[in-house]
Amino acid sequence: MSAPADAPRDTGAPAAPVLGAAGLRVAFAGRAGRGTARAVDGVDLDIGAGEIVALVGESGCGKSTLARALLGLVRPTEGRVVFRGRALGHRPRELKELRRRVQLVLQDPTGALNPRHTVYDAVAEGRRIHSGSTADEQEHVAEALARAGLRPPERFFLRYPHELSGGQRQRVAIAGALVLQPEVIVADEPVASLDASVRGEILQLLLRLRDDYGLAALVVTHDLGLAWNIADRAAVMYLGRVVETGPVEDVLSAPRHPYTRALLSVLPESGSGEPQVLAGEPPDPTRIPGGCRFHVRCPVLASGAAAAAGVAERCRGEEPGMLSGSGAAQVACHWAHAPERV
């Protein structure tokens, strides 16, 4: 077992993935009268050591399900989770090992912390699960709290979550993750439920943890601005599939997928012409369209640009295929790949 606290920081070459998904699919059996929901529908995604990857997309596109699958909290229907180069088995021992080195931070710290546990208990829990109660437990808890920006840590030990502010609660949740000295943090919308004024601080904290301890992170968000601010790499998800991925500068400043463009166009600071409101019904994972899954809402197809490029048929009838999980810039769009594009 390696010492997770000091993961290699500056590797010149693209860092070896610590955690990833390979051909991952998660389907939920439909409730009364509804079909099977293919929440995650074929995703390859790698998170390198010390890398921050943003997973962006509208709500309902499967981001949380993917995040949970990465922690073994939902079982993939197909494909696998790869941790340190090995496919994750779902036996209790394997899961426990994964859950020591990969930590989850949820959106709403009010719900994510047990209301009847003190800050100390909340932070110490992870250590107790994995190393039992040790004599130096208190030092570790104090250190984790301090790293999460709660200083002096002793002042917080006996507080209950309801006595803290939203930002402080999220720091407690992060401290609870840090106490295990993980290699990766999977953060599901970590600031979405916080006041705008503290969002920046929490994001700053994640960045500093990466810089200081080489902590990798998958940050799930529906907020592209946030992705821009903290991520090295972005993966844009639509209806269970990653449709565009690459270094964050490429994806967000030179988007190639019509979906990414539409998302960006509604940002106030985008300045790139008209905001593009997507037509058509909101996506429904129980009825994923054939062909390109975005074609029914695609503004490029609707405007005739796809037809002009000669790909309209393929948009309707041919699935663009899965993107690889590596760091390279890629897009799953027939039109973006069309040679005679205007």
Binding site: K96, R100, N114, P115, R116, G126, I129, H162, E163
Partner: protein, 345 residues
Amino acid sequence: MDTASRAPAGRTAAGPPRRGRPGLHPAVRYLGGRVITALVSLLAVMVTSFFLFRVLPGDPVAALTQGRAVSVDQLEAMRRDFGLDQPLPQQFLDYCLGMLTLDFGMSYEYRVPVSELIAERIGPTLLLAGTGTVLAAMLGLALGTRAGWRRGSLMDRVDTGLALTLWSVPSFWLGLLLIVLLASGAGLFPTSGMSTPGVEGAFNVALDVAHHMVLPVATMVAVVYAQYMMIMRSSVLDEKGADYLTTARAKGLRDAAVLRRHAVPNALLPTVTLIFLNLGRVVSGVILIETVFAWPGLGSLFYSGLRVPDLPIVQALFVVFAGSVIVMNLLADLVYPLLDPRVRT
């Protein structure tokens, strides 16, 4: 269910200090409010008890002298003795003054102070009701936890179905069934009373009483455990989707430990409150069960008192029974803030 809405009400009552009389700590104000409410309810119960039993059909004097040749003078004397010749307002005043000094009057039938009868009978009732309630609560909490955690499973459906069936069965019917099956037929357990005459030695007496308790306690547990089970089941269901359980699981805690360390303690919080509120039903349950099994407690005393009607007995017991419900509710209100750190500030 109005009981369910009481816990949150308790929550806000202990909240941050609001405008109002200065100098009173909010906790003191909260306690004071609850105690006053309880006292007012008790007063209402006392008044109700007096009038309720006076509209019962039946004349105690006639009932007590049934089958004997008594003269009109003797009947008049008895009436005077009982104070029944007084005008109603006077009777009411005497009753109230008596109650305030814990003097419940003289039983018509037994000719001894009601307070003596109660003192003599309260032990067996507490023994039966206490044992039955503790066992029913333990069984109900365990089964309710299991059923809620695995909602929709076969086990949940079987356990819940059985509990609700037993709950809807009248306790005297179930009691008689048990008597027929286990006592009369197989002769395994005594069917009435609390002890066998002539048994000596502390250990043997205890064993004998326990033997007598089997059927009444079993009947009581079977009929009432469903309420504890259903409360716990729904509390566990409420907690089941909570994010903090996901957090704990994601840290590597096994499912059984997630349930034990997180879900159960938090589900117990609303459950304890509701259990206290439901303890009132123990009283009505115990009256029937004591009657079926001739258990020498307050319940059978009440039942026999009703037939006369022995007004001092039934009035006093009504106040005792209703009073115990009120006290339980008060306890629930007082215990709740101790358990929930969100209220305990």
